[in-house]
Amino acid sequence: MTVQMQIDRRANRPAVYDRLSNEQLRESLRRMHLIRQFEEGAEQAYMRGLIHGTMHLSIGQEASAVGVCVALGAADKITSTHRGHGHCIGKGADPKRMFAEFFGKETGYCRGRGGSMHIADPSQGNLGANGIVGGGLPIAVGAALAIRQQKRDDVVVCFFGDGASNEGAFHEALNMAALWTLPVVFVCENNQYGMSTSTARSMSVPNVADRAVAYNIPARIVDGNDFAAVAEAAFEATDRGRGGLGPSLIECKTYRIRGHSRSDRNRYRSKDEIDAWSRRDPIVRLEAELVGLGILAEADLAAIRQQVETEIEEGIAFAQESPPPAIADLLRDVTSEQP
């Protein structure tokens, strides 16, 4: 390698990578693959009739989940959405127990009671996905209030979608977070559609970030398919929160390649649009970047993919082999008193 090439590589290295070890970057790429393959595995299992109900896939949005979570420690909290598999894996969830939940098994994160839309892992700071659009926004503010009352310097990341910014809960939550200077990072994954309704047809402003101005919250718009851009914004926002400077908002412009849920016939968008976004695949881009910077070699990429593939296969096998919950436990955990 020539001296000139080394200089170029250093010059192109995103500043935020100074805060991340090469091992963390490798792990971030691995988690993005894990999310992608987890969802592809879940989708196939659904089509084979192994999973019932519904699910909302985030394929194409992996950089925002992992780029944000890379700035978090184990004590930091997240609240998630109905499209939350990526956030779970980003925050360190075990795909085995996630698959087990999808399969409705007792070994799942919710012992088979929650399914795709309610996966949580409080032990890792994941307060849960949410089946209600906007449901997690005020809960995140409450979690941040608890952090303040407990005199800790953790932060709460509140993932939400563009659609949630039209809910009253969004506006009430942002107002209180700013009013009380709480350590919340509001992360909007703007994938441009609330089910079939585009942001242009549902929002009075072009960007979700525009709405933060009304609450005196600093906001940034980033390319949500660019891991480094997301991570840089996430570190900046979490630094602010930990430093007692209050909430921030990050709007990740991104796109879900799959439909809204299993019932989607994709009548509201064009194949050209989907293809154009597929060419901006966040995983392909991060792989190219890490190889270009000399952080990973092609052989590493193959090894990561292979390792993830094995982990997914093992996860599905674990889920299939796990016992279902006992029907006799139907009324268990409704309240703290067990029947």
Binding site: K77, T79, G108, Y109, C110, R111, G112, R113, G114, H118, A120, D121, P122, L127, G128, N130, G131, I132, G135, L137, P138, I139, A140, V141, G142, A143, A144, L145, A146, I147, Q149, Q150, G168, A169, H171, E172, A173, N175, M176, L179, R332, D333, V334, T335, S336
Partner: protein
Amino acid sequence: MDRPVRELSYAQALQEAMAQAMEADERVFLMGEDIGVYGGAFQVTGDLVERFGEARVIDTPIAELGAAGVAVGAALCGQRPVFEFQFSDFATLAMEQIVNQAAKMRYMLGGAVSVPLVMRFPAGSGTGAAAQHSQSLEAWFAHVPGLKVVQPSTPHDAKGLLLSAIDDPDPVMIFEHKLLYKMKGPVPEEAYRVPIGKADIRRKGRDLTIVATAIMVHRALDAAAILAEEGIDVEVIDLRCLRPLDRDTLVESVSRTTRLLCVYEGVRTLGIGAEISAMIAESEAFDRLDAPIGRLGGAECPLPYNPEMEKAAVPQIPDIVAMARRLVRGTV
């Protein structure tokens, strides 16, 4: 000789419960609209902000949904919020967080979390506040598994049930009838608990069981005194808790008296009386019944402003007396 137990108003009893809970446990804090320097719309929090500071007696914006969610989030993360709704009617704005989030969190997550949250709701009619500030919506909440719903009728129970609610790992909704806030009664000074889920037989009787809630307990007791002069011996049960329901006490009582009258302020149809009636009809007490089950509840209309109409819209003492006579004697 025992010192007479001092008397407090219902509002003072609630305030004392909150103060004692905050003194004993730093995780406990209060939040709601105008509960700080204003002291709360009904002066229940009073001067607690002076004693505990604004960090633990938090005035929220007028944002019931958001603030309810803040309480849920804080409870999930180990705090013990006590959330005051200014009027129970405003719970309609926060139903999402109460019903979809607080009530279901433990179950949905397979028991991995609990939501130790208390919500206080000033409820009921009689203040001339008309249709949007006078409702009795407690049965709505009692229909939701995961919530506990209590309705204290005396200063003693207000304090004891609120302290139990704050201790409880699950979300507890307390419905406080506005006309009771100034009622005085004996309240011990220590931080005692009244168990959630236990009804209280307020008057023993042989001829008829009246199951009543909130202010209707007092109207039922007054009616029982009138009926006693006519030779009708009424048992009055203060339900105290709508969920969980104290089945055993009710079934035992009705089996003994052989007659049941339910008196509640919420709209009569599909109200708590409907559930109690059905429960008795399904129980071993059914075979003992000597009369049809009676129900007195709120009229099938929004609460009107005119004071005479407002009174006519909810059960009054003469209504209870008349219905009791009919059930016991078969005639008014």
